[in-house]
Amino acid sequence: MSDEMNDEMQLIVDGKRLDGRKFDELREVKIETGVLKRADGSCYLEMGNNKMIAAVYGPREAFPRHMQDPSRAIIRYRYSMAPFSVDERKRPGPDRRSVEISKVSREAFELVVMKELYPRSGIDIFVEVLQADAGTRAACINAASVALVDAGIAMKGIVTSVAIAKVNGEIVLDPFKEEDNYGEADMPFAFVIRDGEIKSIGLLQMDGKLSYDEIRKGLEMAKKGAMEIYRLQREAIIRKYSLEEVE
């Protein structure tokens, strides 16, 4: 995030974004549930050019033993980028950025997973970014939410995530790579959604420069965007269960 090059980088042309979207328009989102056999739950998700797969294992015995909590499940969340997912090959293994993303994402899921139902156990959420195009932490969270449902983990709500950005002075929803690189601010949200309504903010980060009013505007836009994604998450889940003729 840097606004050093704002003046030179024209990201809004004739009131439209470079990829033709309106300011409050999401990229195309594709969600498919149950794509992996070994995992207890899984989800493949595309969000624009982002491609990610989430897998959920658990509840299973937490290991090593001394990590077990006798009163609730331990949740692990691992955000990981494939070496080929970005322009410049990324060295395998976690870097500082992915450690931070994993931490704040895990904190969001700890709000909804009914951990006390699974004492001594571990619930592991692994998300692999196969292709990255800005907004990967949000897209991974959205995939992980669906994978958790697919795994049958009891939850008090669903987590849905989307970012807003400031680009050429305008607040826009769900920035793509160029907007992220040359925009003036980036603010990812994850919301806890229950009974079809946003109950709270579970994840919130920001970097760049935003005024108080821009933040308000951004949050409203993000809520709207999250509800759209929530509907797609729901559809993906229902689609799988109808295919399986469960309901």
Binding site: D3, E4, R96, E100, V104, E107, D207, I215, R216
Partner: protein
């Protein structure tokens, strides 16, 4: 065991006081602890500061050396921010490579400096293919709560007193590092419908439910980090921004006097 019971009692006490809008150390909800800043304490460093917020203590040292720019930004200097939660500072810190908490600490401090554009990285080019690298090393000494703000304050204080060591590297005369903004982080604990600014370690017994909001001198928000697993409502969020903007101005005045 004993430890847990003590922690429960502490938690109950903090919460019961909080029910009456009081804090265990007598502060008001929006009252910051006493802040002390000493600069220039490490003469081996290009810039340094010791910050105390109540009993919390952090030393930040700034070292500079010439190096190669990143290939994609050939005409900008480099800031590398690192935090060591050394085991000296808390019974819960262990020796070893940085864990998620020290990584988060370093990255949030880094974003405050970077996004406020406090340092004009364009001015840190020495020659073609050669720029200044600024190492900001955060060294926690005593964690009595809110290492985050102490570290941010230490970082900008150390930068404010940094001399670019040009002579040492034969690139001209030494000069003060130009700092053009004063980002200030305000961390609050959000619990029980209340906002406790600058939470102490004792207050953390009610849960790691933090948010750090960093602003620049033009009242832009330059960085936000919600840290911890808790539900944040919209209303609280807006309230937090307002409180943070107000408080940061007071602290920024202190920085102006360095």
């Amino acid at each position: 065991m004993g430890e847990d019971i003590l922690s429960d009692i502490k938690r109950d006490y903090v919460l019961s006081k909080l029910g009456e809008d009081e804090r265990v150390d007598g502060r008001k909800l929006d009252e910051y602890r006493n802040i002390e800043i000493e600069t220039g304490i490490i003469s081996k460093a290009e810039g340094s500061a010791l910050v105390r917020i109540g009993n919390t203590q952090v030393v930040v040292g700034v070292k500079m050396q010439p190096g190669e720019p990143y290939p994609d930004t050939p005409d900008t200097g480099i800031i590398i921010t690192n935090a060591e939660l050394v085991p000296l500072a808390s019974p819960t810190f262990e020796p070893g490579p940085p864990d998620e908490n020290s990584i988060e600490l370093a990255r949030v401090v880094d974003r405050g400096i970077r996004e406020s554009e406090a340092i004009d990285l364009k001015k840190l080019v020495i020659d073609e293919g050669k720029v200044w690298i600024i190492f900001i090393d955060i060294h926690a000494l005593d964690d009595d709560g809110n290492l985050m703000d102490a570290s941010s304050l230490g970082a900008i204080s150390a930068l404010l007193t940094t001399t670019v060591p040009a002579e040492k590297f034969d690139t001209g005369d030494n000069y003060p590092l130009p700092v053009r903004d004063l980002p200030v982080s305000i961390t609050s604990l959000v619990a029980d419908g209340k906002i406790l600014i600058d939470p102490s370690r004792d207050e953390m017994s009610i849960g790691h439910r933090l948010i750090t909001i960093t602003s620049d001198q033009k009242d832009n928000i330059v960085s936000i980090q919600k840290s911890g697993s808790y539900h944040l409502t919209e209303e609280k969020f807006y309230e937090l921004i307002e409180i943070s903007l107000t408080k940061s101005k007071e602290i920024r005045d202190m920085l102006g006097k360095i």
